[in-house]
């Protein structure tokens, strides 16, 4: 049942909506529409979109790979220092991305802690697409950890107990009961992680540099264009706006607003 809201709240909500709408309206008003075709088919846009897709999808995959196990560990086990590990797992969400970038350099850069071993096996991350994906994954995997951790807390453990009492192994219970039950949360986390990876800027430019076709994602392309061709920057920005909106509308809150 719907309840009526105080007028003041409605007014503030309208302001909030305007807060989001105005910058988009500004982009629309400023965009040099007559150059749309030329700009959308330019190397910068095509290569930027390609790199962005690879990097954001790669980052989402990496995030799932490390985020789900960590979320399970945090949500299902109890050990001394759990609070610290939980805080560490969420640190990339709070850190300024440029700090994340410096941290990644000191860990995986040429002279980083793991730089030597990584090179020994032929893995060079700075200035590579893989490096850009690592940077994006670093800042986005906490979304999956959070989703799994939170999902576990609201999960009815009865089904898992039942499976275990019928002789199912731990691995079997995890695969056939726990993970399927968590699927909506994991999917929601993955979408948020992907969206965060798509928008990544600071860690990427710091750790992976800026090279078209290799590490120049759309946000980096927008930033570079802004220096000398603001018109191009607005068109490229609108591509990101449209892409992000399309994803959100396609999901219609199915994942993000679970229970609504």
């Amino acid at each position: 049942m719907r309840r009526r809201l105080p007028t003041a709240v409605v007014a503030l909500a309208v302001l909030a909506a305007a807060f989001v709408l105005l910058p988009v309206a500004g982009l629309l008003a400023r965009a040099p529409w007559e150059r749309t075709g030329e700009l959308l088919t330019s190397d910068v846009a095509i290569e930027g979109a390609r790199v962005s897709l690879i990097v954001s999808l790669g980052a989402a995959a990496l995030s799932l790979l490390v985020g789900v196990p960590l979320g399970l560990l945090l949500g299902r086990t109890s050990f001394p220092g759990l609070t610290v590990v939980r805080a560490l797992a969420l640190l990339p969400l709070v850190l300024p991305p440029v700090v994340a970038g410096i941290g990644l350099l000191t860990a995986f850069g040429r002279r980083g802690l793991l730089g030597g071993p990584a090179r020994a096996i032929g893995l060079e991350l700075p200035f590579t697409t893989a490096g850009a994906a690592i940077a994006a994954a670093f800042v986005s995997f906490p979304f999956i950890v959070l989703a799994v951790d939170a999902g576990l807390r609201s999960l009815d453990t009865g089904l898992e107990d039942a499976a275990a009492s019928l002789g199912a192994s731990k691995w079997y219970v995890l695969r056939k009961v726990t993970l399927p039950l968590l699927a909506p949360q994991i999917a929601a986390g993955a979408v948020l992680a992907w969206a965060r990876a798509l928008g990544e800027f600071g860690a990427t430019i710091t750790f992976a540099g800026n090279f078209r076709g290799e590490t120049q994602t759309m946000p980096l392309a927008v930033f570079e264009a802004l220096q000398s061709d603001p018109g191009a920057a607005t068109i490229l920005s609108l591509v990101l706006v449209v892409l992000s909106l399309a994803v959100l509308i396609a999901l219609r809150g199915r994942f993000v607003g679970v229970g609504s």
């Binding site: 850069g109 430019i205 800026n210 000398s228």
Partner: protein, 251 residues
């Protein structure tokens, strides 16, 4: 590297906070300077501020980005560019006064101090496998570097080695100083005391080098009027010593 996003946001915030119809306090002037001027202008601004009892707010970045910000209405009183190209743009819109060239600069090749790739000459920059970092096209030092590589006749080979186009010259210095890149092309004034221990410098022969010319001007619509002009005069006068110490050539 320089966090220009933050800078841009700050500038936009300031722009929205004090808008053009609300005059800046007369005792503060805002100077936009090319990233390569960071150290010299920080000193000059401090000296000028002491002498005139004014506060000088500084913002450094790539000249192309600064020019764009000025054209977008950033409240700036003085602009110092690393290239006449971007001063021309600002002179056209929104307009400047007291324009003069105040310094020149030369390019050098820098490598990490242990020079892992053994870069010993400009020609080595075209050797396959070298990781070269330049400033992006449009950024003055990026354009000058490409011109220099062309003069040396190795443009194609060297550009194939570029692994990152940094958004300003300081970004190039950082990537090399951190040891992530094998070589970079920067102004000789960018090898400051802060990074001198981390990088090795290789001079570029005069016959292929490119001389960067730095113009400065007061913005025509600066509400500080004569104070902006005084700063320009100061840079052309007493400020020259600081610029010379930093390695800049006379205009």
């Amino acid at each position: 590297m320089k966090m220009r996003t933050a800078l841009l946001v700050a500038v936009l915030l300031v722009a929205s906070a004090c808008g053009s119809n609300e005059p800046t306090a007369p005792k503060t002037i805002t100077v936009f300077g090319a990233a390569s001027l960071t150290e010299a202008f920080t000193q000059i601004a401090a000296d000028f501020g002491d002498q005139h009892g004014t506060k000088v707010r500084l913002s450094f970045g790539p000249s192309d980005g600064l020019a764009t910000q000025i054209q977008e209405g950033a409240p700036v009183d003085v602009f110092a560019s690393a290239s006449p190209k971007w001063m021309d743009a600002v002179e056209e819109d929104p307009g400047v006064t007291d324009r003069a060239d105040f310094a020149r600069n030369l390019l050098v090749v820098i490598t990490p101090s242990h020079n892992p790739a053994g870069v010993d000459s400009v020609d080595d920059l075209g050797r396959p496998g070298i990781k070269l970092v330049l400033a992006a096209e449009g950024v003055p030092v990026g354009d000058y570097a490409r011109q220099m590589l062309g003069n040396a006749g190795i443009a194609d080979a060297a550009l194939a080695n570029v692994v990152s186009n940094e958004d300003d010259v300081k970004g190039v210095v950082q990537k090399v100083a951190l040891g992530e890149a094998d070589a970079g092309i920067v102004y000789r004034t960018d090898v400051t005391a802060a990074v001198a221990g981390d990088v090795a410098v290789m001079e570029v022969p005069n016959d292929v080098n490119v001389i960067a010319v730095y113009p400065i001007a007061a913005l025509a619509d600066s509400p500080t009027g004569s104070l902006a002009s005084e700063f320009v005069t100061y840079v052309l006068g007493p400020g020259q010593t600081v610029l010379r110490d930093a390695g800049f050539l006379p205009p």
